[in-house]
C-alpha cells in the first residue's frame, strides 16, 4: 500500500516536471494593420507573488497582434492609482492607454485591483477587482487581458480559454490540454498508438477523441477533471471524427459498419445510434451548426471532397463549396455566420467562407494545413501546419492579417481544437 502511494507520488512528480518542459511559446509572425499603444505598469506588491500578473497580460495583448505594449521601465513613472499617474510622460512615450493595479494579500487569497486608463482624457475605462488563490493568478491575468481587449477593440477576447492537441514523440502519443497561450500543458491520455480528433464539449469539461489503442479507431468521451472515460462508438470497422451537438447531449460520429464512411448521431453515452448521411461512399468531418439544427460535413458524393450542409436526418443536403477540387474539415464560427475549412489551393490551406454571401478567403500560404477551429470569440483560427516537415500549431486571425505560431520544444503537435471560455 505504502509502496503504491510512493509509486503514485513518483508518477505525479514526473508528470509535474514534464509539465514544465512541455510548454509551448507563442511567436508573432504577422501583426494587424492597427495596433493600440498601451503601457502596462507593474502592479503594487506584484513581485511578492511567485506568479506575476502583468507579464501575462502584456504577453496576451502583444501576441494578439492588435496591441503594441510599450516599455515604461523608469521607476519614477511607477504608479498604483489613477491619481498618481504621470500622464504627460505617458503621452510623451506614445501611450494611448495605461494599465495599473495593486495586489493585496488577504489571508490565503489575493485581491487583484486594476484600472484601464485612457491617457488623453484621463478617463477610467475599467476599474475592477477580483479575488482568487495564488495559483489562480494566471487565469485571472488572462481574464484581465480579455477585459482590456474587449474594452478597446469592442470585441470579446479569448485569452482565458484552453486548447487541446495531440503531441507525438516517436511512438509516444499524448493528448494534451494547455492554456490558449500554450502554457501549463497537462496530459489527458498517453498511448503508444495514435490519438486524433480531440473535440471539446460545449461546457469545456470533456473531450471526445479517437484513440487507436485497440488496433482500430474507437471514439471515446473523457471527463477532464476525473480522468473517467467511456466508449462513445466502437462498432465493427472504423469509428471516427466525433463532433458535439451544441447542447452537449449528442455526438455526430463516422461509422463504417454499414459500408462506406457514414455519419451517425449517438447519445454521449454511446447509446441509440441513428444514421444521418445518405449517398456517397465517404461522408465525414461532421460539425454542428450553432443552432444545432443542421450539420456541415465533407462528402465525395459529387466526385471530389466538398463541404455540404444537411438537416440532422440527412435531408436537404446542400453543397457549400464549388471552388477547387478539395474542400474539407469545416467548422462554424461561434456566431454562426462563417465557416473555416481546408481548401486545396497550391497546397492545403486555411480558408474562411461567409455563409451568407458564400464569398471565401484563403488565409494562409502554407501547404499542409489541417484541423482549423475558431477561438470562442471567433476572431482567431487555430490550425495545424507543417514547418520543416514537422507538425506544429499556428493561429491566424479571421481576416488573415495577424499570424502566430505556437512553438513546441519537443515533438510534433497536431490536430488542435480551441475550447470554450473558462469562467
Amino acid at each position: 500500500m505504502l509502496q503504491r502511494v510512493f509509486r503514485q507520488l513518483t508518477f505525479l512528480l514526473l508528470l509535474a516536471s514534464s509539465v514544465a518542459q512541455a510548454d509551448m511559446t507563442i511567436e508573432v509572425v504577422g501583426v494587424g494593420s492597427q495596433q493600440y499603444p498601451i503601457a502596462i505598469l507593474p502592479f503594487q506588491n506584484e513581485q511578492l507573488d511567485r506568479q506575476s500578473v502583468t507579464p501575462v497580460i502584456a504577453s496576451d495583448l502583444n501576441t494578439s497582434g492588435v496591441f503594441k505594449v510599450l516599455n515604461f521601465n523608469d521607476p519614477s513613472l511607477q504608479a498604483y492609482t489613477p491619481a498618481a499617474l504621470n500622464y504627460a510622460a505617458l503621452q510623451a512615450g506614445g501611450a494611448q492607454y495605461a494599465v495599473i493595479g495593486q495586489m493585496l494579500n488577504e489571508g490565503g487569497q489575493v485581491l487583484v485591483k486594476f484600472w484601464l486608463i485612457d491617457v488623453a482624457s484621463k478617463q477610467e475605462l475599467i476599474a475592477f477587482e477580483k479575488r482568487g488563490s495564488p495559483n489562480q493568478l494566471r487565469r485571472i491575468s488572462h481574464q484581465i487581458a480579455d477585459m482590456i481587449y474587449a474594452k478597446i477593440t469592442g470585441k470579446p477576447g479569448a485569452f482565458a480559454s484552453r486548447i487541446a492537441y495531440v503531441l507525438k514523440n516517436g511512438k509516444s502519443y499524448q493528448l494534451q490540454v494547455a492554456d490558449a497561450d500554450g502554457y501549463g500543458a497537462q496530459t489527458v491520455l498517453k498511448s503508444r498508438m495514435p490519438i486524433m480528433s480531440p473535440k471539446w464539449s460545449p461546457d469545456g469539461g470533456k473531450l471526445a477523441y479517437v484513440s487507436f489503442e485497440l488496433e482500430k479507431p474507437v471514439v471515446y468521451v473523457h471527463e477532464l477533471a476525473t480522468g473517467k472515460r467511456w466508449t462513445a462508438a466502437n462498432f465493427k470497422g472504423s469509428n471516427s471524427a466525433p463532433a458535439w451537438s451544441p447542447d452537449g447531449r449528442q455526438l455526430a460520429v463516422v461509422l463504417t459498419k454499414d459500408g462506406g464512411s457514414q455519419i451517425f448521431l449517438v447519445n454521449v453515452d454511446g447509446s441509440n445510434p441513428r444514421r444521418v448521411s445518405q449517398g456517397g461512399e465517404i461522408n465525414t468531418e461532421p460539425t454542428f451548426t450553432t443552432d444545432g439544427q443542421s450539420i456541415l460535413f465533407t462528402s465525395d458524393r459529387g466526385g471530389s471532397p466538398q463541404i455540404y450542409r444537411s438537416s440532422l436526418n440527412g435531408g436537404n443536403a446542400e453543397r457549400l463549396t464549388f471552388s477547387g477540387a478539395y474542400n474539407a474539415s469545416a467548422k462554424v464560427s461561434p456566431d454562426g455566420k462563417y465557416m473555416t475549412y481546408i481548401t486545396r489551393d497550391n497546397g492545403y490551406r486555411v480558408a474562411v467562407m461567409d455563409l451568407n454571401t458564400r464569398r471565401s478567403n484563403t488565409l494562409t500560404s502554407s501547404t499542409m494545413d489541417d484541423s482549423p477551429s475558431f477561438a470562442p470569440n471567433g476572431a482567431m483560427i487555430l490550425y495545424e501546419t507543417d514547418i520543416g516537415r514537422r507538425g506544429t500549431l499556428a493561429i491566424v486571425s479571421s481576416d488573415g492579417k495577424v499570424k502566430q505560431r505556437l512553438k513546441s520544444p519537443n515533438g510534433e503537435v497536431r490536430q488542435p481544437a480551441w475550447g470554450p471560455m473558462l469562467r
Binding site: V5, L12, V19, R131, R138, L189, V254, T284, R423
Partner: protein, 179 residues
C-alpha cells in the same frame, strides 16, 4: 482504519506536490468554489500495454508468404494490384483453414489532405482487401476492416517514395501488435 489513515496521508501528499496549474477560479461575486466543469485539474490515463504474440509460427516465418502483411496501392487508387494476389490468397487459405483466427485490415494513406478525410480514404483500401478475401470465401466474421488514415506512415517526408510506402493496407492477426 489503517486504510483510511493511508488514504488521508495520500491525499495530503498529493496536495503537497500538486503543480501550479490552477483549479477553478473562485469568483467571490458568484460565491462559487470548488470543482466545476471548467476545473483545470486533469488526470492522465495511460493506455500503454505489452504486446501479445501469435500462436502460429508460420505467420511470422520470413520464408512464408504469410509473413508478408502489406498490400501497397497506387496513387489515388483503392484497388488491390495484381502483384498482391498471391499474398492475399495465401492469407485467405490460412483463414479458411483456421476458422477461429481473426484479422484486422488496417488501411493507410499518405499525409496529403485532412486527417479525418484520409481516415475515410484509408478505409477504402482496407475494404478493397476485405472484398477480395470475402470473394475467396473467408467469412465476414473473421475480418474487420478499419483505417489508420495518415496516422501511421512507414516513412515520414513529403516525397513520392515516402507517399507510395504509406499508401497501403496492413494485415494484423488478432493477438498481434501492429508495427
Amino acid at each position: 482504519m489503517k486504510k483510511i489513515a493511508l488514504s488521508i496521508m495520500m491525499a495530503a501528499l498529493l496536495g503537497a506536490c500538486s503543480t501550479t496549474p490552477p483549479a477553478a477560479i473562485v469568483d467571490p461575486a458568484a460565491g462559487n468554489a470548488g470543482k466545476d466543469a471548467n476545473s483545470s485539474e486533469i488526470k492522465t490515463v495511460d493506455t500503454s500495454k505489452t504486446s501479445g504474440k501469435s500462436m502460429y509460427p508460420e505467420l511470422t516465418d520470413p520464408s512464408n508468404v504469410l509473413s508478408q502483411r502489406r498490400v501497397y496501392f497506387d496513387y489515388d487508387s483503392y484497388v488491390v494490384r495484381p502483384d498482391f494476389n498471391e499474398m492475399v490468397q495465401a492469407h485467405a487459405k490460412f483463414l479458411l483453414s483456421h476458422k477461429d483466427v481473426k484479422i484486422i485490415l488496417q488501411g493507410n494513406t499518405d499525409n496529403r489532405g485532412t486527417a479525418e478525410y484520409n481516415l475515410a480514404l484509408g478505409q477504402k483500401r482496407a475494404e478493397a482487401v476485405n472484398s477480395m478475401l470475402k470473394a475467396l470465401g473467408v467469412p465476414a466474421g473473421q475480418i474487420e476492416a478499419v483505417s489508420f488514415g495518415e496516422e501511421r506512415p512507414l516513412e515520414n517526408g513529403d516525397t513520392d517514395e515516402a507517399w507510395s510506402r504509406n499508401r497501403r493496407a496492413d494485415i494484423v492477426y488478432s493477438g498481434e501488435q501492429s508495427q
